[in-house]
Amino acid sequence: MDTPNIQARPAPARAPIGFDEKLASHGLELRAATIETLQVNVGKLCNQACKHCHVDASPKRTEIMSRETAEQVVSVLQRFRIPTLDITGGAPELNPSFRWLVSEARALGTHVIVRHNLTVMFESGQEDLPEFFRTHQVEVISSLPYFLEQQTDAQRGNGVFTKSIEALRRLNEVGYGAEGSGLILNLVYNPVGAFLPPAQAAIESDFKRELHNRYNLSFNHLYTITNMPIQRYLEYLRRSGNEERYMRKLVEAFNPNAVAGVMCRSLVSVDWTGKLYDCDFNQMLELGVAGDLPQTLMQFDPGTLATRQIMTGAHCFGCTAGAGSSCGGVVV
């Protein structure tokens, strides 16, 4: 196993009220309802180092899932017939076992989602990613924080917007985002700063119009995702003096109707070592599933995991603000 390159983690975000306390004030608790998705983080290595990244991913990170652990992922998918494998990172394509994992999961009939950062297809050996995705009928979900260069590069790094537009063009060329192709290309909007996302339908309409008019590009859906107050984004909030205001905003926007749809209720998150979490955010905080539950892929037991009590923190307000936020966008 590689030696982890551990980054200093900022102290947890401070909210004016505890998340569990807020739930209780509405007569709610947070418990899983099913396991529709196994969301696997295959490593923190990335060709980008985005300012909002909750993974703290970058080209310097060395944590990466081994083939042995990837085989355990496939074994869990096979034994428990989990409908969807959601592969994330880092840039998951940089894991040497990535293509094997996708192929094996698809051979089982599992729906495979890849959280693809677009620019990685310009890395050496990754040029054929659009064709690989098409061959395996992968659903591609890609971040594009805005349809203008300034905002996108401000969050994701200089030059990222231009590369992202070219990558979207290549995905469109092989059929992604085209009506009737069955090749799904969804985009993700993250606010470029300390504010909440706009209404998903409205901003999706703007993105469709602007990307078509400016670049003749198409995609299926735009998901708005709230920035979670953890890791690199939390450091930004603190540096810029926005933490208190942002946390107050999240708490004031708490929507009890969003609780039923948050993603931890229908997925189990797996880290690069095979350890289990309630979501990718908890994973980055090293907040594992409750201690009395199976802790690793080797111990995976859907019977207990599917109804588990979710581990929470102040960051959970990010998923319940306004229309809610999940890996698939709004939840209400």
């Binding site: 203008l148 905002q151 700063g193 504010f195 909440l196 706009p198 209404a199 409205a202 901003i203 107050r248």
Partner: protein, 109 residues
């Protein structure tokens, strides 16, 4: 003490401690105005930003800058809205120049 405190924006509700019935009526009306209607929330937020600049209200400028971002506007669009408000303010001042001209002409040979 400054006349304008940033934290006062989030204390707006305290106005309702006295005559809460009037404040509740105002808030109902205010909230209803923000919702999607014949105009979208985003258009309304841009109007709010423009009016905030015309009124030069720092609370409103702060609040509607956030509203514009959270309804999907970018800084170019927001700046255009601010120019609209400023241009109308400027034009409104300038057209009063005719009043001055009229006044001067009235007493001139």
């Amino acid at each position: 003490m400054s006349y304008y405190e940033e934290d006062d924006l989030s204390r707006f509700g305290e106005i309702g401690k006295h005559r809460p019935d009037l404040f509740a009526k105002f808030m109902d009306w205010y909230q209803a105005c923000q919702e999607d209607g014949a105009l979208s929330k985003r258009e309304k937020a841009l109007i709010g930003l423009a009016v905030a600049h015309a009124l030069q209200c720092p609370y409103c400028i702060d609040a509607y800058s956030q509203s514009c971002l959270e309804s999907g506007s970018n800084l170019e669009q927001m700046t255009e809205a601010i120019h609209m408000a400023s241009a109308i303010r400027g034009g409104a001042a300038l057209i009063h120049g005719l009043q001055a001209h009229n006044s001067v002409h009235k007493v001139s040979m």
